[in-house]
């Protein structure tokens, strides 16, 4: 293993977002304030049917997880896209870094960014609730896995996209629907039976639900089943990134 090289790439990918703090720290904080205004004050004290938790408490973990996932995706996809357009991915290929090391560094940075965003959002939002951490391990497990899965999709998306249009396509037709339909804004128990069944095929659903479980100690899924599915999805994503990078998919002629 070229650990030093892997570490260098990880820090490069992290500095990329730390250098633009407006985007990575200030923007999520602003988003959080807007969530607060819209959901806390406009929706009032309503609670979620069947679950007996205030709607705002229910929403926060989902919103935080959604932001984590979006940021993880943005970090890897934009880096690889810009790398392609600037022709600078050649430096990654020329360096003595294996595909595994590259994958590790990219995903590591994506997870780091996701967690910074999560902390910023929680710091702003939690004081307005009586929420607290019920199961830290669940929060960490789902947070890490969710960021890896989305960071990995960002890597694959970045490799696949030839233009920013392709990237927008991917974002609007795959990522957005999957996140919005994953139960961020509602409990699946509120949905008709048929939709509930569909939701079980959405990997994001398990991520959001599990992450929320860590805060509220209630959830829509069977935790052991969810953990199995999420672990598998995470490993599959890492494996896909690794193998695709190794073959130089859409990167090397």
């Amino acid at each position: 293993m070229n650990w030093y090289g892997c570490w260098t790439l990880y820090s490069r990918e992290s500095r990329r977002f730390l250098n633009v703090k407006m985007q990575t720290i200030v923007a999520p904080a602003l988003t959080a304030v807007m969530y607060l205004i819209v959901f806390r004050y406009a929706m009032g004290e309503r609670s979620v049917p069947d679950l007996d938790v205030p709607y705002f408490n229910f929403l926060i973990p989902g919103l935080v997880m959604m932001s984590m996932m979006q940021n993880a995706f943005a970090n890897t996809s934009s880096s690889i896209m810009v790398g392609k357009l600037m022709n600078m991915q050649i430096f990654l290929m020329m360096a003595p870094l294996t595909a595994f090391e590259v994958t590790l560094a990219f995903l590591g940075a994506a997870v780091t960014r996701a967690f910074i965003v999560a902390v910023v959002l929680l710091l702003v939002l939690v004081p307005f609730t009586d929420m607290h951490i019920e199961h830290l391990w669940m929060i960490l497990f789902y947070g890490v896995c969710g960021s890896i899965i989305m960071g990995g999709m960002g890597m694959i998306g970045g490799m696949w996209s030839k233009t920013f249009d392709d990237m927008a396509l991917l974002n609007n037709f795959i990522i957005m629907p999957l996140t919005f339909l994953s139960g961020v804004f509602y409990s699946v128990k509120q949905l008709p039976e048929s939709w509930q069944a569909v939701n079980h095929f959405n990997p994001f659903f398990y991520l959001i639900d599990g992450f929320r479980h860590g805060f509220l100690n209630v959830g829509d899924t069977d935790p052991s089943q969810a953990i199995a599915i999420v672990s598998m999805a995470t490993l599959a994503t890492i494996f896909a990134c690794w193998k695709l990078w190794q073959t130089g998919w859409r990167l090397k002629d």
Binding site: Y4, G5, M86, I90, F91, M94
Partner: protein
């Protein structure tokens, strides 16, 4: 002499069906200053990009300092520096940071003194802490050179490192390359400045349309492949009628000078005497007599034109 690089039967066919390399065999001696020449589209960059691992080969083998390039990539990459032909740079960072990152990715803790020296030698010190976006084209190219050298590779490959670099800087850049070469670094480069290649390089290979035309020492090429001409200078313009009497030497007249082509026989001896005697008989004693050798550019043009399919 051991080889820094041995390429065997390397082929590359791009996805669009373009055959860029059709079986290239090449050997680059360790410690040499090697020029890889060829017209546009000959396949030079394709060859270099395969060595750099940015293009996948279709078939063939490469041995790098005695190690198999394709199966021992890491070992080889740590000892190889490549300057790509296409300008590429990281728009997020300043040159100094780019060099530190590059060094780190090669698994080498940045050697600050060496980085400063590179910035200095490539005349980028002033711009070291500006964002790379603010560099001019020539500065970006020099940054690429610095990036390729930051991990102190044993073999350096430069794909047109001086394109877009001004005359003065080009001279100094070549001086720097010479120094590196004198310290034991093998250097392979492509360039379209043939005069510079002739002056600098001790070995040369010419490729055209994906095929190797020749590969040997610069001296060898100029002596064996390069032909020479006998030039006789007279007080008055040489009469055109004399041409028909000297056809055996493919003569050419330029005002008061006549050029006779000298050919080598199997033993490497040229026909200087025969040409000289014939000329004196037809035209009388000359004012001055000299032999002009074909330079690299003449040889290059002749070889690449002869092999035009």
């Amino acid at each position: 002499m051991t080889a820094a690089l041995t390429v065997q039967g390397l082929t590359k066919t791009y996805k669009n069906g373009k055959k860029a390399l059709s079986g290239v065999d090449l050997s680059v001696p360790e410690g040499s200053f090697f020029a890889l020449l060829g017209p546009n589209g000959a396949g030079k960059s394709t060859l270099i990009n395969i060595l750099a691992d940015t293009v996948k080969p279709s078939s063939g083998q490469v041995s790098f300092l005695g190690h198999d390039l394709f199966s021992e990539r890491r070992w080889c990459k740590q000892r190889l520096g490549v300057v790509p032909q296409e300008i590429a740079f990281d728009p997020f960072f300043a040159p100094r940071d780019i060099l530190k990152i590059m060094s780190g990715m090669f698994g080498v803790k940045p050697d600050i003194a060496w980085i400063d020296e590179l910035l200095n030698r490539l005349e980028l010190s002033e711009h070291a802490d500006k964002n790379a976006r603010q560099l001019s084209g020539g500065m970006r190219r020099r940054l690429l050179v610095a990036q390729a050298l930051v991990h102190k590779p044993k073999v350096v490959i430069l794909d047109e490192p001086t394109a877009g670099v001004d005359v003065e800087l080009r001279k100094r850049l070549w001086g720097f390359m010479r120094e590196l070469n004198a310290n034991g670094t093998t250097i392979l480069l492509t360039t379209h400045y043939l005069e510079e290649a002739e002056e600098l390089c001790d070995h040369v290979a010419i490729i055209n349309q994906g095929k190797l035309l020749t590969s040997q020492s610069m001296k060898g090429l100029l002596n064996t492949v390069g032909s020479s001409a006998l030039v006789l200078e007279y007080a008055e313009d040489v009469a055109n009628e004399s041409l028909s009497k000297l056809t055996a030497f493919s003569p050419r007249i330029d005002a008061n000078k006549i050029f006779l082509c000298l050919k080598k026989d199997a033993s490497g001896q040229n026909n200087f005497n025969a040409a000289y005697q014939a000329a004196i008989q037809v035209l009388g004693e000359a004012q001055s007599v000299s032999v002009q050798n074909e330079d690299l550019e003449d040889v290059f043009l002749r070889l690449t034109n002869e092999h035009q399919s």
